[in-house]
């Protein structure tokens, strides 16, 4: 059974299709809408998006775009997707220590999801918050200038 966008996403997609001189430009915002609905992008959703945009856009083109960009999750993630910045500015302010702390608190390794599907922990490249390091992005929000205590409190609040 093919994927159906929600009415809100459907109307947003219709608006997007009018906004650009070339409807191909809707692939990125379309994938974003799909991820907002599902938490990740899957084959059926991408097929539905390609169909919505219409010829000459095919599933292959949507898939090719989705796999290029790291923002789109190609597999399901936990309810809280914790992305810790591992680039050098963050490393210099102790991101490795926060990372170890998170792994031991959640009982998982980097790239894994907790068995209750609540948390996914990943190390990512620069998130553009170098002056406020160490930092994590959890779903849409940035949490900066982290200490062990602050990180514990954030996890507690999410729970």
């Amino acid at each position: 059974m093919s994927y159906r966008f929600s009415p809100e996403s459907e109307s947003r997609l219709n608006k997007l299709l009018e906004m650009f001189p070339d409807k191909r430009s809707v692939i990125l915002p379309g994938l974003y809408l799909l991820q907002r609905e599902l938490g990740y992008v899957d084959r059926e959703g991408m097929e539905a998006l390609a169909e919505k945009i219409g010829s000459p856009i095919s599933l292959a083109q949507v898939y090719g775009v989705a796999t290029f960009y790291t923002l789109y999750n190609k597999k399901p993630v936990g309810k809280f997707h914790i992305q810790i910045c591992g680039t050098s500015s963050c490393y210099m302010r102790g991101n490795d220590k926060i990372e170890k702390h998170l792994c031991s608190k959640l009982g998982i390794e980097l790239g894994e999801t907790t068995p209750d599907k609540k948390f996914t922990l990943e190390e990512v490249e620069c998130l553009g918050a170098c002056g406020y390091a160490p930092m994590v992005q959890i779903n849409d929000a940035y949490y900066e200038n982290l200490t062990f205590e602050k990180m514990d409190q954030i996890l507690k609040d999410l729970n």
């Binding site: 680039t87 500015s89 210099m92 302010r93 170098c130 002056g131």
Partner: protein, 427 residues
């Protein structure tokens, strides 16, 4: 020393992102003035001001605008590059979140100058707060008649669309950004043709950075002479520097170009974290050659002084490194970043960045040999100077080779000896 706040004068006000507040502090005055000017006049003022692009390459803004062909029937496009992602760089995010109207104002002026009726604000997808702030500002500007048809009765139309990227550093490169906006993979394009002739949807296009657009209203409002007197002769104006690493007060600071690097570190950033000795500074984002503590003493924050020190001002990201920092580890992490972000189009970059990363990983683990170090240096010569479509490969070399050459003893100490790792620093 103190900051010289022109673009960031009101950035810390809790209402700085609101239209009403922005108007109360002479916001949109520059745009109103520009709407009454001829396009050539606007380009001339920006040219005379000496403003150089604030995204990294430092190309003169007025000159870039003047490259747009005037008598082509195709539409022209204006793009704001808000895909900030160079490690060390976090200045644009502050402008986007706190002063979105200043950017919109700069874009309307730029659009009038090049004759564009449609523009795009390409923002990195992770900046959710910035996306909300900018979309709200765009909606407010439309409601007030600062965007859309016949802006303030001037007869000039300009539509602005926000477009969120999806986590690819390469999309900060203007032709990759254009590809991404067209719904493609962020693969840089061969130049020529340059975007000014054939850019977005194969039409004439100008791409400028957030900070560049934020500067333009002030230049139009107060004049080219006023602006060109600030800073140095070849690097006029102020610039935002994002300082990270081992300083007491990391953050974004606006200072006149030409300010000594050590004044920025000691006065504005409060000196070194825990009073540790300075080891090195990367003065313009991860891709530019590192400066030793000794070189930092004579370096000024302007294009000329940086060139004299064989490095660059880049994106204005100052990464301060304290004594005790493991440079093998930081260099490995930079190489890992470039390997991850290589788009894969060109062999020297696709293979080179990954190879350099793997060799540094080997050295970091104490399993390297002197041949590995030599191989990195030899490889890097094939990764730079025009062997690839865009400069990402060169950027990887800039992040790795100068550090190996200037701190060779540190890398050599790690060969076959993992225990030679310096004490870790940080929180």
């Amino acid at each position: 020393m103190a900051e010289m706040k022109i673009l960031t004068k009101y950035i810390d006000d809790p209402r700085s992102n609101e239209l009403e507040f922005y108007e109360s502090v002479h916001g949109y005055d520059g745009m109103k003035k520009a709407l009454q000017m001829a396009p050539e006049e606007i380009v001339d003022v920006v040219k005379k001001s000496g403003l150089r692009g604030r995204g990294g390459a430092g190309f003169p803004t007025g000159l870039k605008w003047s490259f747009i062909p005037k008598d082509i029937p195709k539409p022209k496009y204006l793009i704001c590059n808000a895909d900030e992602g160079e490690p060390g760089t976090f200045k644009d995010r502050k402008l986007i979140e706190n002063l979105p109207h200043q950017i919109i104002e700069g874009m309307v002026i730029g659009a009038k100058a090049i004759g564009a009726n449609k523009g795009f604000f390409y923002i990195r997808g992770e900046f959710n707060k910035g996306i909300d702030s900018m979309q709200k500002a765009i909606d407010e500007a439309y409601a007030k008649g600062y965007l859309g048809k016949n802006i303030l009765g001037s007869g000039f139309d300009f539509d602005l669309v926000l477009y969120a990227g999806a986590g690819a550093y390469i999309c900060g490169e203007e032709t990759a950004l254009i590809n991404s906006l067209e719904g493609r993979r962020g693969h840089p394009r061969l130049k020529p043709p340059f975007p000014a002739v054939s850019g977005l949807y194969r039409c004439p296009t100008v791409v400028n950075n957030v900070e560049t657009f934020s500067t333009v209203p002030h230049i139009i409002d107060k004049g080219a002479d006023w602006y060109s007197k600030i800073g140095t002769e070849k690097s006029p104006g102020t610039r935002l520097f994002s300082v990270s690493g081992h300083v007491k007060r990391p953050g974004v600071y606006e200072i006149p170009l030409g300010t000594p690097l050590m004044d920025l570190i000691n006065d504005l950033c409060g000196g070194m974290l825990d009073d540790m000795p300075l080891k090195a500074v990367i003065p313009g984002g991860s891709s530019v050659p590192i400066l030793t503590a000794e070189e930092c003493k004579t370096a000024n924050m302007d294009f000329e002084s940086m060139a004299a020190h064989k490095t660059m001002l880049g994106s204005g990201a100052v990464i301060v490194i304290g004594e005790g920092t493991d440079l093998v580890e930081t260099t490995y992490r930079f190489a890992r970043f470039y390997a991850h972000e290589s788009c894969g189009q060109c062999t020297p970059c696709r293979e080179g960045t990954h190879w350099v990363r793997d060799l540094l990983h080997k050295i970091r683990e104490g399993e390297g040999t002197s041949a590995d170090l030599e191989l990195i240096l030899s490889l890097s010569r094939n990764m730079e100077g025009g062997t690839t479509i865009c400069p990402l490969s060169d950027a990887c070399v800039g992040a790795v080779r100068p550090t190996i050459l200037k701190f060779k003893h540190e890398f050599e100490a790690r060969l076959k000896d993992k225990a030679a790792q310096p004490a870790a620093t940080g929180v």
